[in-house]
């Protein structure tokens, strides 16, 4: 009996040692003004950027970003309200730019809360990793969730990418009860 206990303890210690360092807990995030919620691990930071495209033109972009276990998680919001009547083309253009000149591994329908979008997986050039992304057009904005497994992680089949992009919801009642309200920069 004692031998069995020692063996079990040794096994448990071994497994704990071998487990990846993805220690960060997943947390829910919500933005009532932007109308969506998602879940991500690690510390989420907010950045501002600019999106530019031939049809879409130049637009402000907000990026909510975290990194955990060498996987980068990004929720990108592009304000297209001034051109929302071109929604279908603007969405198509954003998806096209995302995969342009990259190796596409998946390109399929995304459907969340009655919103039809697109999910894609690409291999980044120069062995830069693998990105899975989802694109939706909601309330005049392109909302894209993108998870990139970096080479330092190396587990390109990790389920974490899917967990992230499939965590999005446009019904705020479906967000986690303790979801953190996102700060939306002006």
């Amino acid at each position: 009996m004692r031998v069995l206990t020692i063996t079990a303890l040794a096994g448990a210690t071994f497994l704990a040692t071998m487990a990846p360092a993805s220690a960060a807990a997943w947390k829910g995030y919500i933005s009532h003004p932007l109308g969506f919620a998602f879940a991500a691990p690690g510390e989420l930071k907010v950045e501002k950027g600019t999106y530019q495209a031939a049809v879409g033109g130049k637009h402000d972009m907000i990026v909510f970003r975290s990194v955990d276990d060498n996987i980068e998680y990004k929720a990108i919001v592009i304000d297209m309200t001034t051109q929302a009547n071109q929604a279908a083309t603007l969405m198509g253009e954003a998806q096209y730019i995302f995969q342009d000149r990259k190796k596409v591994l998946m390109d399929t329908f995304g459907r969340v809360d009655g919103k039809f979008g697109r999910k894609l997986t690409i291999d980044l050039p120069n062995n830069g990793g693998r990105t899975t992304a989802a694109f939706y057009f909601v309330n005049g904005r392109i909302v894209s969730l993108q998870a990139t497994v970096l080479p330092a992680n190396g587990d390109y089949d990790t389920p974490e990418m899917g967990r992230f992009i499939d965590s999005i919801t446009f019904y705020t009642v479906r967000a986690a009860n303790d979801a953190t309200e996102l700060t939306v920069p002006k």
């Binding site: 031939a54 049809v55 929302a84 009547n85 071109q86 929604a87 279908a88 083309t89 603007l90 969405m91 198509g92 253009e93 998806q95 096209y96 390109d107 399929t108 329908f109 459907r111 009655g114 919103k115 039809f116 979008g117 697109r118 939706y136 057009f137 309330n139 005049g140």
Partner: protein, 192 residues
């Protein structure tokens, strides 16, 4: 020499006799709906219906011709002017319904017109259930109009890799200066 001429003449006659009965392709335009396309055969105009969860119940305008056992169809739902911001969602739903429960052979980006005038859509090829043929389609949402081009190679034709469906769906133009001169103006029936 005479024998050679006879053989060539006989060969040409045989070729003409065995060629498929293809009709000439014509160009069609609708200034009201803002697009043009090319199709063979006689294009007829009808009114149909469409229903989607996002789109709701809608009447459609259908331009249809059949040539050499290939059916060419352009379907327009012109009643989304008040819902253009929902265009991406309505378009995605239409594409999803097209391929649902069918074997998808191609699903790729569609882009018409260059640069700033580009219109992005989707092109798909599916096999119809029960060996009913192969259908290639293109989907675009422009100015409140949901436009679908579909070419179906029927089993009676059997040449499922025919280039004609591709010629049809790629003939669409939204910059009407690109339309071939002499295009026939399409009738636009009143729909809800």
């Amino acid at each position: 020499m005479r024998a050679t001429h006879l053989l060539i003449s006989a060969g040409m006659a045989f070729s003409v006799m065995t060629a498929p009965a293809n009709a000439a392709w014509h160009s069609y335009i609708s200034h009201q709906l803002g697009f043009s396309f090319e199709a063979p055969g006689e294009v007829k105009t009808t009114v149909g219906t469409y229903r989607g969860s996002a789109a709701g119940p809608k009447q459609t305008i259908v331009y249809r011709s059949v040539d050499d056992n290939i059916e060419y169809k352009v379907t327009v739902i012109p009643s989304f002017r008040q819902a253009q911001a929902e265009g991406a969602n309505i378009l995605g739903e239409r594409e999803y319904m097209f391929q649902n429960d069918k074997k998808v052979l191609m699903d790729t980006f569609g882009r018409v017109e260059p640069g700033k005038d580009s219109i992005y859509g989707r092109k798909m090829t599916v096999e119809l259930p029960k060996n009913a043929g192969r259908e290639t389609a293109a989907f675009y949402f422009v100015n409140g109009n949901l436009i679908t081009l579909e070419a179906t190679v029927l089993p009676a034709n059997g040449d499922f890799t025919s280039p004609d469906p591709g010629r049809f769906i790629d003939s669409i133009a939204f910059v009407l200066s690109r339309t071939q001169p002499g295009a026939t103006e399409l009738q636009v029936p009143e729909v809800d």
